[in-house]
Every structure is written in C-alpha cells, then in structure tokens.
C-alpha cells in the first residue's frame, strides 16, 4: 500500500469503520483511474468527436436541401395550375375553330 494511507493493521487505534471507509475510498479512486485509462486507450471519444464534427459540417448542406425541397413543392403547385389553365384554353380554341 502507499505510505500515505495507513496500513490496515498498523494503526488499530482507528475504528474498523474508519479503516473500511479508507479502503473503500482507495478502491474507488483506483477504479476511477483505471476506467479513465481504459477510455483513453480505446480512443472512442476521439472517433466519436470526429464523426460529430463531420456531421456538423454537413448542417449547411442539409439546410440548403430543405430549402430547395420547399421551393420544389411550390413549383409543383404552380405547374398544376398551368396545366388546368391550358386544358381549358384548349377546349375553348377547339370550340372556336369549329
């Protein structure tokens, strides 16, 4: 054990509860350090961060596409109107030319 933490048998003047608490704290700190090292070693955060950055760069493209799609919807309504008009006019012309 590290010299900073008392040995579990060296100071029996402390209560068993105190020893247990110290032991639990030491184990918790060790587990935290181990987990940090594992996460750093697996490089998962780097990969995921890079993927997120790429996604953010495409936001602009996504917005542009959405805009274009809205305009296309308007154009389709216009075209429908034109078609109706032209069919009416065609009927009238046929009637006139008879």
């Amino acid at each position: 054990m590290a010299t900073g933490t008392p040995d579990s048998q060296a100071r029996f003047g402390q209560s068993v509860k105190g020893l247990l608490t110290e032991k639990v704290n030491a184990c918790g700190t060790d587990v935290i350090a181990l987990t940090k090292q594992v996460l750093k070693g697996s490089r998962s955060s780097e990969l995921l961060g890079q993927a997120a950055r790429n996604m953010v760069l495409q936001e602009d493209a996504i917005l542009h596409s959405e805009d274009s799609l809205r305009k296309m919807a308007i154009i389709t309504t216009h075209l429908q109107y034109h078609v109706e008009q032209s069919s009416d006019l065609q009927d009238q012309l046929n009637h006139l030319l008879k």
């Binding site: 996604m55 032209s86 006019l89």
Partner: protein, 269 residues
Amino acid sequence: MTGIIKTWIKCPIGGSCLKGTHHHTGKGLTPGAVLALRRAGSLRLRGPSRLRQSPRPPSDLGWELSNPELKAARCRRRQPASRKERACDAGAMTPSPAKHRAKMDDIVVVAQGSQASRNVSNDPDVIKLQEIPTFQPLLKGLLSGQTSPTNAKLEKLDSQQVLQLCLRYQDHLHQCAEAVAFDQNALVKRIKEMDLSVETLFSFMQERQKRYAKYAEQIQKVNEMSAILRRIQMGIDQTVPLMERLNSLLPEGERLEPFSMKPDREPQL
C-alpha cells in the same frame, strides 16, 4: 414376666434412641446431624423434612436412606462430574465438615424442574444460530490479528487477469466507437448525395416551370386575341344592318356596294 428388652443407645445428636432406629420427631435436623446419624447407621426420616435445601437441582423425589448400598447406587446414578460426587462415588464416608453442605444426599427437591425444553437440538434459537452461514469479515487482515501473510495475500486481485479484462473492455469500446463512427460517416456521405440529387431535381423543375410559364403566356395572348375578334365580329354584326339601311335611304346613283369583310376584294372606299 417377660418383656421386650430394649437396648437404648446414645444418639450422636443428643439424647438416647432405641438401637436400630433413630426416632427424632419435632426436631430440626441440621446436615451435620444427618451426617452423624448416617455415620452411625441407617437413618429414616418421617414426615416433612426440615433440612436446608441444596442449590443444585436434585434428581430424587425423596430423601430416604435406609441402606448404604442404595445410597451408593444413587451416588453412581447421579452425574459424577463434581468433586463432591466423586467423593460420594469413592464411597468415602468421611468428607470434611466444611463440604458436607454440598453433598447430593442433602439435596431436597421441592419441585421437579422441567427438562424437556432444555435439550440442545429442540431450542428454536439454537437452531436459528446453527442456520447462519459461515462468512468472512470485510477486512480479512483484522481477523487474524497481527500476522503479515494475511495482509498481503487475501486482499489483492491477480494482476494478469485484471489486465486481460481491461484490455478486452478497451478493445470492445474501440470496436463500438469504430462502428458508430463508420455509420455516421456513411450517413454524411448519403446526405451529400441527397443534397446533389435534390439540387438537380430542383433545377429541372425550375426549367420546366419557366417553359410552361412562357407557353401559358402565349396561350393567354391567343385567348385575348380570340376575345378581341369576337368583339369585332359582334360590332360588325351590329353595324352592317345599319349601313344597309343607310345605303337604302340614299338615291340610286350614290348607293355603295354591299359591305363585306372578305379579304379577296378591294376595300370599297
């Protein structure tokens, strides 16, 4: 004159008794007196005993000694655990006066104790105690006191196995992150493709809309022209009868030709 010769002897506790019997009524017998009487010979008590009660629970109901053999048998029956009973077993008839108080023979049972619930295996508390499983304390070093091997051996994990575990977990995380990043990059590519296709479609539609707008405009012009022509036709239809009437009102020499709109004739001025 025949009479029964009665032999009187001196009683150890005082007074005189007939030989062979010791009748003492109305007297409280101390254990010392009882011992003396026993030493002297057979002893029979009648009536309620007024001896001091021994603290140990006696096993006999009565307190009757009429035979030294019976007394020895009774001594053997009892638990030969104590020093006092061993003296009884040995058949020693001369315990010290200080110990006579503790003899089993002096014990008088007032009430029979109940022994049934005192057996070991019937007690529910004992059974519950026996059902508790064996367990180790949390800090094993404190169990044995100050010995050093327990300090080192019982609390550590195997480093190689822990290393393998951590490496496996790290590899797992790496693979998961790679899979997620791969899917995300595929999505980004698809978004770019979608963006391009949407742009081309939009441009097509814009072109078509412009063409159709031109066509619609031309058709509208045609429509207007046809309306104008109809109006003209109506006007002419209204005007020509009036012109004919006017022409008929004129004298014969100045009448004009009948009006017609046919283009192959020259217009009449």
